[in-house]
Symmetry: C2
Subunit: 123 residues, 2 copies
């Protein structure tokens, strides 16, 4: 199931708010980006058609949607694809970027250390 940039962004909102309606997602999206309700609704429709969202409830005229798969299970192949596409399939290269950028706080690094060591212990 191939999703476009914007479709991914919208699905993202649903990962954060499972069971959301088009109007509410529109409100959230508009925090970052100026788009009309129609646009967001179209994207939701496409996500539904692609099988990434499903209707799970209805209140009045308002339809509520939810992701059909967990964020984790969708992120996995996306990450893989990204690593292949941008980092020549080399996760270590990605890590390096993560570490070089200031994107990780000291806290993150500590956390990283802990997990990396834990993995080591259990192998």
């Amino acid at each position: 199931m191939k999703l476009s940039e914007f479709e991914t962004e919208v699905l993202q909102v649903f990962w954060q708010h499972p069971k959301a309606s088009a109007p509410s997602v529109h409100k959230i999206i508009t925090n970052n980006k100026a788009v009309t309700y129609s646009t967001v609704k179209t994207i939701i429709d496409r996500l539904e058609k692609k099988g990434a969202l499903q209707r799970v409830d209805q209140q009045g005229r308002t339809i509520f949607y939810a992701p059909t798969a967990s964020a984790d299970s969708m992120r996995k192949p996306m990450l893989n694809n990204f690593i292949n596409k941008v980092f020549a399939g080399d996760s270590r290269l990605l890590m390096n970027h993560l570490l070089e950028n200031d994107s990780l706080s000291q806290d993150d690094l500590d956390y990283l250390n802990k997990v990396a060591n834990k993995n080591k212990a259990t192998e």
Copy 2:
């Protein structure tokens, strides 16, 4: 400069082989994917038009291209965009996936540990 999926893939090849020609890139790409020379050349043309590639040499009729920017400098914003789009801007979430998947070897983990610690020391 926004690049499409396939454009990114092709640019990737140039990061690995700076100064490459359309025919040679075509050969490389066809290892993974069945596409004609024309298709690859079109993508290269578009990358040139977008300013990601430039002509740097010519031998006979064969034109050689090279990336206009370093892999690193292009990867940075791409990674950022990806983290925002798929991981809600949370790099830690990304790391978790990296660690959970078997995408990292023990060797990678050791390496990770070393770097994370080094960063710690210098902060």
